[in-house]
Symmetry: D2
Subunit: 360 residues, 4 copies
């Protein structure tokens, strides 16, 4: 509901972009999981602004504190509260925004919805909100890795009009993804993407793109028909991310052009008689339930709405205005969105993993 995600591994987040801090309560995490702040910090550092020349130079330490639920390096089974204080605030950057809702941003709709909104920055619509997701996702990942050997790897597969060559989703690693700041494991494409992002930034403009994500080593049986199919929850999770505009799993939109005879994934038996599929156009899911193949999906992100260029628009009173944002914003959110996509995938999977335990 609103600020809570998940049914058994429930994450409830709080925090405006500018205020006391952001954080989350994770309720339902199994007990006796080895966990430290360092486990969480690693993913937060990948999400952090200011980590490379491609991102905003806004510096946020994003130092995470565990307030409860962990003792002597182990989870207690009780709610885990995590928090990062807000630090680097320049409310002055947002003064112009009080009267002029930024195009394609959430200023206007928050005001309409609540009859009030955070005086500076994007409030809950700010990318800073995703810090809490990444923290919670890191805990989920720790559990999934230890319990099921699940591996989740996301990467930038498209920036603007530039796409990566096919990446082998069966083997790609986070180290390969992090080999360059754009987080595209195709080095040639990464260089092109880097140039494109730099160019857009220099022109006070922004770029969108696509992130691909693979989840490996899922057992069969995760996912809940009818309404909580694995792909439905992934789509929910991904479209809840700021700036996301689309989701597809397996063959996705391209697969709609195939005939059934060409699209179906035939079953084949391994030496031990275990079934797998010869192809994976299903994206690891059949009938909403994992089939043991890698789960592969893509998420579309629009170009960053806040740009430094002049934009002709109107203020809240209906008067025409020229707006040029002064805040420090990413010219392309994709590189920093990689750990966020992984986090949300982990939150979906951990919930289904726990739920499946109630079937046995």
């Amino acid at each position: 509901m609103s600020s809570t995600f998940g049914k058994l591994f429930r994450v409830t987040t709080f925090g405006e972009s500018h205020g006391g801090g952001v954080g989350a309560i994770i309720d339902g995490c199994p007990p006796r999981l080895k966990l430290s702040a360092a486990d969480i910090q690693a993913q937060l550092d990948r999400r952090r602004p200011g980590q490379s020349a491609l991102t905003t130079d806004r510096q946020e330490a994003d130092r995470i504190e565990i307030l409860s639920g962990v003792e002597n390096g182990q989870t207690l089974g009780t709610p885990i509260a995590v928090m990062a204080r807000n630090k680097d605030q320049r409310p002055g950057d947002y003064n112009d925004l009080a009267d002029v809702p930024r195009p394609s941003h959430a200023d206007y709709t928050y005001q309409e919805k609540y009859g009030i909104r955070s005086a500076s920055g994007g409030g809950r619509a700010s990318a800073r909100e995703t810090l809490a997701r990444v923290a919670a996702g890191a805990i989920a990942e720790k559990y999934l890795a230890g319990e099921n050997g699940v591996e989740i790897v996301a990467w930038v597969s498209q920036v603007g009009t530039d796409s990566a060559a096919n990446i082998d989703s069966a083997t790609v690693t986070r180290a390969e993804v992090d080999a360059n700041p754009v987080r595209c494991p195709d080095a040639t494409a990464a260089a092109v993407m880097t140039s494109a992002i730099t160019a857009a930034r220099d022109e006070k403009d922004s770029l969108g793109g696509v992130i691909t994500c693979v989840c490996r080593n899922l057992p069969t049986g995760w996912g809940e028909p009818v309404f909580d199919k694995l792909e439905a929850l992934l789509a929910h999770a991904m479209l809840s991310l700021p700036a996301s505009k689309g989701f597809e799993i397996g063959s996705g939109f391209a697969g709609t052009q195939l005939r059934g005879s060409a699209h179906n994934d035939a079953f084949v038996a391994g030496p031990d008689g275990t079934l797998s599929t010869a192809t994976n156009r299903s994206g690891g899911v059949q009938g909403g339930i994992s089939n043991g193949e890698p789960v592969v999906f893509k998420v579309a992100f629009k170009p960053t709405a806040t740009i430094g260029q002049d934009q002709q628009t109107a203020d809240f009173k209906g008067k025409e205005q020229t707006l040029a944002a002064k805040g420090r914003h990413d010219p392309c959110v994709l590189p920093r969105a990689v750990p966020i996509v992984e986090a949300m995938a982990a939150l979906v999977l951990v919930d289904l993993a726990l739920l499946q335990k109630t079937r046995t």
Copy 2:
């Protein structure tokens, strides 16, 4: 959770494809809404198999019965139970399926998840399950139309490799959509699509495609940040549909190729000072909240998995098998999926409409 959708207008469905019947309990519907079985039947008839030469010739009357919650043509505010009995069963058609899981269908994953599965047909993974969604959606639509004048219109915009010309989402009507059996309001494209579907059927094959849907006359303010953004709930709803593989809102995947300066929707003021946007690449949603523009989204459907052609696959024991489905199945689910997409959209919207009442 699984078989329940919605938080305030909660729909819980039941029923296998082959069994006593399918139905739903709708809890949380506001009282004093004028409602009759006929209101529901109209949309059910659009979903019904056997309605045209393009669909399966399996005949299902799908006669809906209202069991509770309505008296003298008005809702009581108490749970509305609806049910349609199952009738046209030919379990013999499914005998071959007991040992051979159909490729890209849910036989294998249900068996893995539950350690048991419905002996015939697709159980809950069957398209028949969607009957209950359509019934519930019809009630939601009735409320939304009366309360807010909301209009929801979906249509087939692509079948296989054939696409419709641009449809004007501001004006397209259900009557235009229903003008041909393929439910594409572009008559020229519809004729091409019809040929393609007929050809696929004659070759015992199947086709996929894309449905576009518009929701008009939404007020501003519907949608719940952070996790229950309007587009997140729509994506959840659409990816919960059988055979769906993708979702995009507004500019979607194509929009990822634009720069921010070209993608942003500038605000413009009307004569009364009310803001709207000059373009609608946002698809009617900003920051997860409706902005008053039409909500426009697309859903990708894979080609029907069950085909009459021989398929090489393996049975549950790992032995190679040739499978040719004998059941009667749609060569293309798109035309019948139109009212289902509308129903799920209505369920998302009605829930957010009720939720927004708690903010005032």
Copy 3:
């Protein structure tokens, strides 16, 4: 939420006292549980009106039908829908009630809440609604008995001012409870209670009383701190029953008069070192979690509100009226409430049992 109970084993009920029927969808029941309509019918027959001279002579067959989720005598893991048609309706009995809200009944509050109400009978406030609870509870009991050997036994421990002697909660059985129509396993007290109920009925009056319930063989560890403690969920379940006015667990209200030194349950070790408690004033729960001792609680039921005597009251328009109910109602709901209390206890326990599986 309203008509849904439980988080993992979720029961959603529907049905007015007078309408098409009453029933429930049970979602989340584990697969491969042996189940037949007869398993459910047994408890329904204990709840049925007209089963003895002590209850209303209104005859309701309450024949249950399983519509989905069960095949070849086993649950599929999919939603189990159950329904009983309504049959014996005499709306004429309720004509007087259209204008005069019955004292201490729900006519007035339903009208105020919804601006409309069922034209005859108590709508959802009728005792008939509990049929669906009993059906769902019977399924829960079947699971708990098979999985954990849990035994749930409730009995009438007080009627009006007459109380049973102490019943041994460690050994009392349903057979002993059902040995007399009043369902009090103390035969002497039962005879007194029977006379009291007969006298009240003859005087067109009604009696209240107390039901005691024990749940045996629970493992340790069921119950969720902080808000979903075992006793909190039991209290919720019991106070959701029509006519219930109070709940207490273990030492209850009487225990408030003891000092801690006299109230505490000391731990003692068995031969195998397993801890149990020397006394059970805690009622089987500590910190909201089962401790392995029998869970013992009591539920207070007020005297039936609908009585045949003349009552001075006012109609909806504020005019003074004399009301004498003509419907057929139980002079004392206690005997028929016994299986209902058991059912609700089972629903609480099964949910916690499934939830605890996610901790291991």
Copy 4:
């Protein structure tokens, strides 16, 4: 679910008695509510340990911080996070407890449930957890008072074997309740209770008792049939409190001894034709829905489990032990539980108030 209470006004709490801090996220609070930390602090100070000679001398400042969701003294509609740091820790006090589970406390059951537990103190079972409830309840109360003029007043009506004379629930105020440290508005009874508590403390023993609570000025129509009746949610809320053992509403257990003709609340019309009831044995609720009369209920609290006296018990290994708690604990939790009961009542009411908005 576990650490979350409420459906629309959702409170999720965190924090062990000994750790980084305790707090809550309140999601779903309506926007534009005037709110400051001082509004919350007032009730926290009533809950605080060390406030009088009757409570533990453990000093906890319980200084609340609002981390998000409030700006310029108004709520934003976004999650409100509140936190109080833990300060006064003496883990040494709990060293003895590591091996010996305290009788009638949660040490044993937490260990059994989670296979691990907080090394010191009661973890989530500690009374300190209730701080977060009181903070959230204060916000709920602020809303209810402003929106509906709702007044919630609780008081100690029984300590051990000593009861207060009848308090007029129609008029009693918090000022009258707070006129003495025992929080009993009957001064004579308060003096007796004070002596009893002092005596128990001097004998290293403890006392239980009963709190009565009234909620005034509720409109008609709050409460959700079937499972979420107003009294069911109140019972859930109250039995979720540490040390509570019973709940009753209106006539409660005593009312079970009356006949229907004596128990029913007849309707009477006011000068404007509005109905009220001549008596209020229903406790302000009929059919689970508020009827406009004051909601009156009682909560039973057992004597504090942790006492300084020697107790014969067994340790986790099954060895007999003599235990004498060294921690500083209240000899009677009742006076400090008064604001906690009020807080939980407010959380129940605010949720139902918001829910009722979706009916109109």
